[in-house]
Symmetry: C2
């Protein structure tokens, strides 16, 4: 498969995962073409070329597409990630079983507070001065950032300088992606706000 097609397939999957989490069950090529800013006929061509079928009139089933894209893209084994900041939120994420379902494993944590450093635990928590050697030796690409606001920008910069290519940022500071590092900002308050709209819209209907 040529690069551009692989890239589009991975983008289709990304959007489908997002839409699945928004409750979408069916989708049309126009939806994907809009979300990716490409033509609907290219979407249909890609799907035909890779055997992704749908009932044209009824669209495509989101779950079926994701499963097929998983096969095509070869959901390559387990993805190892690290977490920086192992306080309340960090520890809740370290213990979360949901990562296993998506073949993601937190392999190590890092925390500035000596009381939280447990290098011999099943998921070791190291001091931040181990970050650089650990990221380079273990070829870690993605980190979750759950440090307090005041140390978040500095920690992000350090991670990028060590070669990290993706950061899931929870600190209440909007961080921008750079050329070599993709930053996603999570704000759970927006999830609650979204919920209020459902609740309010339901009440007024």
């Amino acid at each position: 498969m040529e690069y551009e097609l692989i890239k589009r397939l991975s983008q289709y999957k990304k959007i489908l995962i997002k839409l699945r989490s928004m409750g979408f069950v069916k989708i049309f090529s126009d939806n994907l073409s809009d979300a990716l800013g490409i033509s609907a006929s290219l979407v249909r061509k890609d799907f035909a070329a890779t055997g992704l079928t749908g009932k044209r009139r009824g669209g495509y089933q989101v779950n079926e597409l994701i499963a097929k894209l998983n096969d095509l893209l070869g959901k390559n084994g387990e993805q190892h990630i690290i977490i920086v900041g192992c306080g309340k939120l960090g520890s809740a994420l370290i213990n979360y079983k949901g990562f296993e379902n998506e073949q993601i494993r937190i392999v190590a944590g890092f925390d500035a507070n000596p009381e939280r450093q447990t290098p011999d635990a099943p998921i070791p928590i190291f001091a931040p001065d181990r970050l650089e050697s650990y990221i380079r030796e273990q070829r870690i690409q993605v980190a979750i950032l759950t440090v307090p606001e005041e140390s978040s920008l500095q920690t992000m910069e350090r991670l990028q300088s060590y070669g990290i290519r993706g950061i899931l940022n929870f600190a209440p500071v909007l961080m921008r992606s750079s050329e070599h590092c993709n930053v996603e900002n999570v704000n759970l308050a927006l999830e609650v706000e979204k919920l209020f709209y459902f609740v309010n819209a339901q009440q007024s209907s």
Copy 2:
């Protein structure tokens, strides 16, 4: 304003908030019409009727639209919510300053473990047997659910029976909305998976 228009405006805002968290800066009426399953001309008519302007050729600015929709829908004061399960994740959410920016306030927590119950704290944490009276007396509409998997379904059912109309569920159990209660399932593993797609797509381009 008639009901249907208010409902659509609130849905536009909901989608826009979601798209903003995905990084969208600009949007076209076709995107909104697709997401809501309505015609693009109805979107444009709604916007014209409520004075939401955009440069037709360049689309609409997402942040501007959200601010205007906030005014139109009268972002009614502070929304009070409760949180059930005040362990690691629950306490991280109780202390999170990001809720203030969205005018959301966690006013009370509930936890089955007597050691976590602090009824005299600034944000009191009560025993679960206080849930019913608290929800009814304080007219609470939305709850965050951060209990372990094994007690999640039962707790959800209790919340619904007490009249809760929206639940943000973190337990690793996919919960369905009912007629009177809207459930949103959060899975942070999907956010990490999404990040890997960006990172992988970037590397292969």
